[in-house]
Subunit: 395 residues, 2 copies
């Protein structure tokens, strides 16, 4: 299948290009290298060294004996999107080409509006290109479990049946996002739902949990194929950041009380789930929502897991809570459904500890790169608008 991956230079995009190529699919990719620039703006870089895209493309060809067809440019430019669709005629589009960071969107009014406009426009441009050029294509859009927030009731997969004043309806489950970024994804989800209904397009909206890990299954040994791995406050996520902290002996830093629960899944499981989604497309006009995660963990529990795995590798680190820069519930009910992907055949790898150990070993080789950007590990973008480093909190 011809699959276009937007944001192919990113953490998930670059991994998925390889995974799908190994499955026999033909890959096109687009990227404007925003992720590299954003991370630099946050005073950081990828813990794993990554080569330039032209170099990546050469290395890819050397290893897989297949080429990625690549377009450099901004998805907010409809002319570019149209050109890509006409030239590549994708059967599916995996849309990773959005800004994925809550803290980045919370920096100030300019970042808030930039993130929302960028994410809305890129998605809208894809929808119109699909309508006009490849109406039968399948859009797989990366959303986030963060769109739902933490309501005090179960979270279904996108829709729920309810009764209200004696009448019944199947409605979209109300979202309670917690950052301008997360709301940008809700806005995008709403736009996609509408486009499917109106234009008969097909789409799967992935409410993904937090992804962690450095490896995918079957990956060649060439290190230049590795994906980026971020650890800064804006683009690094919980387990990945903890592991980067562990390898330089920095305390692991859950935010606030640290009982925030989230869904998590290893990078290799994310690849498996996205492949299942692509290989089992919805019907024309269907907009479906998958909650994509393996299991729910409390973020302190995960810090403890990283601490224990680190100890087995001779790394001694503390777990020290820091002030929560975010406005979020730190103790809450959390019971999201995640059945659709299991029904399609998803087999969870179910070994978070083993995955963490692999990641720690990989990252230990790049200790110096993490050490060099140590300052980026502690957040200073606060949800109330201040820019002030979080302090450690007393136990």
């Amino acid at each position: 299948m011809r699959i276009l991956i937007t944001g192919v230079d990113g953490y998930l995009g670059w991994s998925l290009a390889q995974h799908l190529t190994m499955r026999g699919h033909e890959i096109g990719g687009a990227d404007a290298y925003f992720r590299r620039k954003w991370v630099e703006e946050m005073g950081s870089w990828s813990a794993t060294p990554i080569v330039s895209m032209p170099e990546r493309l050469r290395v890819f060809k050397d290893n897989f004996n297949k080429e990625i067809r690549f377009w450099e440019g901004n998805l907010c430019d409809y002319n570019l999107v149209e050109k890509i669709f006409r030239e590549f005629q994708p059967a599916a589009i995996v849309h990773f080409g959005e800004c994925p960071s809550a803290p980045y969107s919370m920096i100030d009014v300019h970042h808030a509006t930039w993130v929302q406009n960028n994410n809305i426009t890129s998605t809208m441009n894809l929808l119109f290109a699909m309508r006009d050029i490849t109406p039968n294509a399948h859009l797989v859009k990366l959303g986030t479990m963060g769109e739902y927030g933490t309501p005090d009731i179960d979270i279904p997969e996108g829709f729920f049946e309810i009764e209200f004043r004696g009448r019944k309806a199947r409605l979209s489950f109300p979202r309670q996002a917690g950052s301008w970024y997360h709301w940008s994804k809700v806005h995008g989800s709403n736009n996609i739902m509408f486009a499917c209904k109106l234009y008969g397009l097909r789409a799967t909206d992935i409410m993904q949990g937090v992804v962690f890990g450095t490896r995918i299954n079957g990956m060649p040994e060439d290190e230049r194929l590795w994906s980026r791995l971020d650890f800064d406050q804006a683009f690094g996520t919980a387990i990945n950041r903890y592991c980067c902290q562990a390898v330089i002996g920095h305390p692991l830093t859950p935010y606030g009380a640290g009982h925030q629960k989230r869904g998590f899944l290893p990078l290799r499981d994310s690849m498996q789930c996205l492949t299942l989604t692509l290989e089992n497309p919805p019907k024309p006009g269907e907009y479906r929502v998958f909650n994509q995660f393996e299991e729910v963990y409390d973020i302190t529990e995960l810090a403890d897991k990283v601490q224990r795995a680190a100890a087995t590798l001779g790394l001694t680190v503390e777990v020290r809570h820091i002030e929560n820069p975010r406005a979020e519930l730190e103790n809450h009910y959390y019971n999201p459904d995640h059945k659709h992907l299991l029904d399609l055949g998803y087999q969870p790898s179910h070994d978070v500890d083993a995955e963490i150990t692999i990641m720690l070993k990989d990252l230990m080789r790049y200790r110096n790169r993490i050490e060099a950007k140590r300052e980026a590990l502690i957040p200073d973008v606060r949800w109330d608008g201040r820019r002030e480093k979080s302090r450690f909190v007393k136990a």
Copy 2:
């Protein structure tokens, strides 16, 4: 009270500036004259002749012996918004500064993204200016009943209590908007709800029905004070457009089967409701939603009312249905709540027929202006992406 009206040059903005001035409030206004340009782009103009803003400001002063403080510019420019807030220090902001047209947003990908970005950015800029400069101010944002769409259950005012799998929650009522424009308003509503929660701002989100009429109470006789009144496919709304059709003997043109039900209210009632809202602000941190309309009518029923009122003035017109350019249900359940404003003391004028007659008399003086743009009365922007005039349908 110091009240900033964004979009003060528009249909509602210009009327509200006068109404609130008569109530003793101090008015600031901002506008970039987009509405004038959009209507021109649609090949039309206001049925009522309107003078330039500098002239409007002079006429305003002559009639009310009070000045409107005016800033010309684009609300998407945060520097401008910041300047206005610092200079004017509003206690309340009435946000009419968005693009209000469903058909305009459906023209093509460029209009769709422009409308969404414009509406999101202008609202976001106001929220940040409130946070940083006037945190105690009250935002009154004009939304639309169209955000809800036509679900097969009752429509509450913004929120509802539901039970799901044995647990209860008060949640935002899921929206089912029917155009890129309507979704832009949903996105804005979500952003405002979040800003109130996060920054402790106060806001009232007005889900307004379709407004009609040429007059507000207590208006001086100076014709240069009249608001614009649009009749083109994109900026003219049902009753106003029917009345413009009637005065030039053009058939009244309900779309499709014509049993679409909507909430309506006269312009003078809209002024009353907005004033009640402003003079009864919510608590800090409160985001409240008012469904603002007088009564629900079927759009063919309204065409019949206009036809009858026209006949009493010697105007003979047919009602002829045309192809519906929109994708919408033409027969549906519709039972929206509208209690909050009645609780605050809203007294509906309850005389649609009298209001229509007043409007017809006003418009008969401008027959030539409507006749000159007759082509603009029949829609050609279709929801499926085509640009093709709707034809009359056989009875």
